[in-house]
Point group: C2
């Protein structure tokens, strides 16, 4: 690949944006030039890219002249406001927000799961919600063995999903708690130090929160199967940057643990961590900073005929966001 690209990163100063820059570097993405875009507040900040200082510019509709690929991670409302300007300027947008994920003419892509969908894009490609991505990297190889009919998943989600400020809040609140000072939530709605709470998105009429319905709907779109049933419970735990998930699936036929582990061992983006003797399984401390999704505790579901249970952990900022977005850009 000798071609190189003019790349814009929208939301460059956020937790995901910073990881995007690092990921472009470490994966040696063929960047010809880089433009860092953010809101007014961050203009003039300087970030390092390949040992060069790059100034953050203000995001406007005119920011995309000459840009080939625009990586968006500045929230759904900014994506809705500026993505069409980027496309009009001739850029392909890879969007990490929820703005376009469920639109029929926008492919929703996990490169390990449905890379071929990238080709269908009309200017915008969406990267899924972090919990969906981490789950499906682990489930796709099992789905290929025998179609998954039902998924029951409980998440253990980190602060990073709510941004850099939420990560700071968790650390500051925890320090306050340990020092006996009052804990005052500002970014997230509930005290977070040594506490957990149901995911802080709006609860819909069916009793599921937006985060949970993303897992339901995005799974069906990415797997190209509207009949897969998904029941998620999304919970924020006092962890900094990796999500973990306890997953139970039901498949069309019984897949053995051995067969599942064999398929997972060959699967891209998966690292098996499954040492029963030392009680070592996927943990956030081990997935932090890693590209792979850690998968373990693969066992028969003792409550159903054709079931398997497993436990996964993946870096929310990387595979959950920045890495997946850059990987999509690589497919282009």
């Amino acid at each position: 690949m000798s071609r190189s690209f003019n790349v814009a990163v929208v939301g460059a100063t956020g937790a995901v944006g910073i990881e995007m820059l690092k990921t472009l570097e470490t994966r040696r993405f063929p960047v010809k030039s880089i433009r860092l875009l953010a809101s007014e507040r961050s203009v003039g900040k300087e970030l390092l890219f390949r040992d060069e200082i790059v100034k953050v510019e203000k995001l406007t509709a005119e920011s995309f002249a000459g840009i080939d690929i625009a990586l968006f991670s500045a929230g759904a409302s900014r994506s809705r406001e500026f993505a069409s300007a980027a496309v009009a300027a001739g850029a392909v947008v890879v969007d990490n927000s929820s703005a376009f994920r469920m639109l029929d003419d926008v492919p929703l892509v996990i490169p390990e799961v449905n890379p071929e969908d990238v080709k269908l894009h009309k200017g915008i490609i969406a990267s899924p919600n972090c919990t969906t991505t981490i789950m499906l990297v682990a489930l796709k190889p099992l789905h290929d063995l025998s179609p998954i009919r039902r998924i029951i998943v409980s998440t253990y989600q980190s602060a990073s999903g709510a941004g850099a400020k939420a990560m700071e809040e968790l650390k500051n609140q925890t320090a306050d708690y340990l020092a006996g000072r009052p804990v005052v939530p500002e970014v997230l709605p509930h005290p977070y130090a040594f506490n957990l709470f149901s995911h802080n998105t709006t609860i819909g009429e069916n009793g599921y929160c937006e985060e949970e319905m993303k897992m339901v709907n995005e799974t069906r779109k990415i797997m190209h199967d509207k009949t897969i049933k998904v029941n998620p419970t999304c919970v924020r735990v006092p962890i900094l940057r990796s999500h973990a998930e306890a997953i139970t699936i039901e498949q069309e036929r019984k897949v053995s643990v051995e067969e599942a582990l064999e398929a997972l061992a060959k699967a891209p983006g998966v690292k098996i961590v499954n040492d029963a003797a030392s009680n070592t399984f996927p943990m956030p401390k081990d997935s932090n900073g890693q590209y792979d999704v850690l998968v373990g505790r693969v066992r028969d579901d003792i409550s159903s005929e054709n079931g398997l249970s497993l436990f996964v952990s993946g870096d929310q900022l990387l595979k959950g966001a920045a890495l997946n977005t850059v990987q999509i850009a690589e497919l282009l």
Copy 2:
């Protein structure tokens, strides 16, 4: 009840033992005299009971002369070693360990669920594992509406289940982490600060750990139904003293959310925390120090015909251990 009892607390200086003393006080249990027993290491320590200083004595086979009720919470091996001496001395043993739970002639009792089983005791009554107790307080009223056939549960377990030292370890490690000092696990097998890990009990041949199999087997015994299928995933999260659990059940017939909430509202030991508008559901910070199990997020399981999902949080040291043990003693 004008009768009063000579009570012994075995393991009086442990995290659960201390809560047992407080619970005996706050529930005005008719204590005639109290004897605090512990291992050599704690002998001579002084604890306050009803404003009187009580010295901790060494636990021996001779410790139980004159004792009516002996509350054991000093681990399974101490229970195995000393419970028979207590029974021989004429005491009724209420045991919080796993030593006798699955024996046919030992009732396993949650007072809100199967109080009648207390009558069947032959000297020893067992109190269930904390995760089982907290789950079944919430599930019994639903089981009464329509028999539960299957339970899929993911736990979010606190440090307290591993004792006072694990709670200290979590606090110390977290302070170390925040100060940039190395984190060295001593009590629990993995770093705990801003991390989570699969429950630290031995993994059996079927891939489930001991903690998980306790939930399977104890549920069947307490509910008097060996056909209930249970699939647990037990996980330790960096929380100090409350367990939370994400539970999905399948019942013989479809129970509506309204019907479930109505039954839960009347159920003993349950407090409904289910405010979707303010996104307020059961949280460890709210169940800490509470007798009731908090229950919320009650919703249709969108992945099955006759399913419901819910989220619970309960104080591991109280309803999970000390309170349940004292409540059993009250039934006597």
